[in-house]
């Protein structure tokens, strides 16, 4: 059950559009004064939360002759241009970095979905010696603070000869313990009867997993996929440590590099950040329902 469904049980109710009166979720009328106050507050918070992104977008569209430091500030570019986006690509290989980020994020989605579904199924549905130990291992792995073990992860990676490679960026997070436990809970909530019927029909464990169990937890798989993508695309500390060769950078590290090297030109940095954030905001806009469900499932069940 998604958070939003709980919050607005009557989301599809069309009455609001037809009636001039505004009612709340219980059908009670909201007073006009309160409504105005609410919208004013909402708009103020909107300006605070989205405003900075728009200001960055505006900066990235301002041409070289335009004063970006003026006071009072100019919110709209006088003569909008995409020139800064071309320049950022001349300065750093921003599209290569974006491709690296895309590779890492895609790999993370695939490994996390497959790996955590398999392990989650083993923890929830199969019985074998050591299952409790395996569950405990994942719980412990979930509790270990990543920030505290990065140096040891870095030395481990060096011992494996994978430093400064994208594989090295991908590996530590490629099957998140948290995701395994999320999948385990999803499988636990399925009724056994369905699988039992398939068992009687002679389906082996792989068939039952692939044909019956997995399709029934699609929602959770989607949540895992989205968060794996976002986590990999947004990660900063680990790629910063594991990657040293600028040609292998991911977008976040590349941006930090751009900022450090060309801090003087805010238009360039702004264009770079917009390139990094635009795909995520687009993804979020399409899949926002799953995002909220993910937060609900990840944290509220505590």
């Amino acid at each position: 059950m998604s958070v939003l469904e709980k919050v607005r049980p009557a989301a599809s109710r069309p009455a609001v559009a037809r009636e001039p009166r505004v009612t709340d979720e219980h059908g009670r009328r909201v007073r006009a004064g309160e409504l105005v106050l609410r919208y004013l507050l909402l708009l103020a918070v909107l300006a605070l939360t989205v405003g900075p992104f728009l200001w960055q977008l505006s900066t990235s569209l301002k041409g070289p002759t335009e004063d970006i430091f003026s006071s009072p500030p100019k919110f709209l570019p006088g003569d909008p241009t995409l020139h800064n986006y071309e320049r950022v690509a001349d300065t750093i290989p921003v599209w290569d970095y974006a491709l690296n980020s895309l590779k890492v994020a895609t790999a993370n989605v695939v490994t996390n979905c497959a790996g955590s579904a398999l392990a989650g199924y083993a923890l929830a549905r199969l019985r074998y010696r050591g299952r409790r130990a395996a569950t405990l291992a994942f719980v412990l792995a979930m509790l270990v603070p990543v920030e505290g073990i990065i140096i040891a992860q870095f030395t481990t990676m060096r011992e494996l000869g994978l430093n400064n490679t994208l594989i090295g960026v991908i590996l530590p997070g490629c099957i998140g313990a948290m995701n395994v436990l999320l999948m385990r809970n999803a499988f636990l909530n399925l009724p056994y009867e369905i699988e039992e019927a398939a068992y009687v029909d002679g389906a082996d464990v792989w068939q039952r997993f692939l044909r019956i169990a997995l399709p029934s937890v699609k929602g959770t798989v989607a949540v895992v996929a989205i968060f794996a993508f976002m986590g990999a695309w947004d990660d900063f500390l680990w790629p910063l440590i594991v990657l040293s060769d600028p040609s292998k950078f991911t977008l976040t590290i590349g941006l930090n590099y751009l900022h450090g090297t060309f801090a003087g030109d805010e238009r360039l940095v702004a264009a770079g950040t917009i390139i990094a954030v635009a795909p995520l905001i687009a993804l979020f806009a399409c899949l926002q329902r799953y995002f909220f469900r993910g937060v609900g499932e990840g944290a509220v069940k505590g």
């Binding site: 709980k6 939360t49 719980v139 920030e147 505290g148 073990i149 481990t156 997993f209």
Partner: protein, 311 residues
């Protein structure tokens, strides 16, 4: 979550046992095949590094030199290292500064977006945008906004306050980073609170209203007690995250941690001392151990406070 997942594994429903046992006979190795990739990754890249961090903390290991056992020497050195105390101070200040704001503000925000008025879904999503954006993007946006010549200073000048050196003064810089952390976290905790608020029975509010309680009174006597356990959860999550802060401060203060390194946090110190060809892996591991101990202590503290309130 940890305790509930473990305890549930212990008591399977009795009627399901039979088919499961037959499955085991049918394919004795496959359960481990299912779990193996996950266990391998968690073991090799989380649990093994965790253990080796604990071991390395007692050695003088460097990036290219295998370490010897040095006992408590690293920890003794920590006590005399000014940079360590600066890091500990800043990480602690971060918890003190960020956590109260992240417990209270998202709750107020959740109350604001709770009512289903037209367009509210848009506002909820928009308020969540900073959560989705990468911390690097967020950091760079705020560096630009808080720049000596940036938007915030332009506005401050326009209203006659004058320009403020947000990023050049050590304390202003740390406070600005805290504000950015709060700004980025608001939407995330707002959604957690929204889920909790949805479970508050409306009758309680109505009963309080009949008794003549105003909005503020109802908030304090009905809403807050009803979402108290969520507030504790948010407090625990945000305090652990705040103590381990890295990216915001690193991006806004630079790799060396602001003026004279005074804005260095503990995790920044771990990153700085432990990496590179001359990285002191042993010493950085000792700092990491301090990070572990404090985060576990913070969790226990918050959960203890919760239990004491209940009794």
């Amino acid at each position: 979550m940890a305790t509930s997942t473990v305890s549930r594994a212990r008591r399977p429903a009795p009627k399901v046992r039979r088919p499961e046992q037959r499955v085991r006979r049918q394919l004795a190795t496959s359960p481990w095949l299912f779990a193996a990739p996950g266990l391998l990754i968690a073991g090799a890249f989380i649990l093994y590094p965790f253990v080796s961090t604990l071991v390395n903390a007692f050695t003088d290991r460097r990036t290219l030199i295998p370490g010897r056992f040095v006992g408590l020497a690293n920890f003794r050195e920590l006590l005399n290292d000014d940079m360590f105390w600066i890091g500990l101070r800043n990480s602690t200040l971060y918890v003190v500064g960020v956590v109260p704001a992240l417990v209270v503000l998202p709750l107020l925000l959740a109350l604001l977006v709770q009512k289903n008025i037209p367009g509210i879904t848009f506002f909820r999503s928009a308020f969540y945008t900073p959560v989705v954006a990468s911390i690097v993007v967020v950091g760079l946006i705020w560096v630009w906004l808080l720049d000596e010549r940036g938007l915030v200073n332009s506005l401050l000048e326009a209203i006659g306050v004058g320009r403020v050196g947000f990023l050049s003064d050590q304390w202003l810089l740390l406070s600005s980073a805290m504000a950015v952390t709060v700004w980025k976290g608001l939407g995330y905790y707002m959604i957690i609170y929204l889920a909790a608020l949805a479970n508050v029975p409306r009758e309680l509010h109505e009963a309080a209203a009949v008794d003549g309680a105003g909005a503020v009174r109802r908030f304090l006597t009905v809403t807050v007690p009803a979402v108290r356990s969520t507030m504790v959860l948010v407090g625990a999550l945000s305090s652990v995250a705040a103590f381990k802060v890295f990216s915001e401060v690193y991006l806004m203060a630079g790799p060396s941690g602001g003026p004279a390194g005074e804005d260095t946090t503990l995790v920044m110190l771990v990153q700085r001392t432990g990496t590179g060809l001359t990285g002191r892996v042993g010493y950085a591991s000792a700092i990491s151990v301090v990070v572990f101990v404090v985060t576990v202590a913070l969790m226990l503290l918050v959960l203890r406070a919760d239990r004491r309130d209940e009794s």
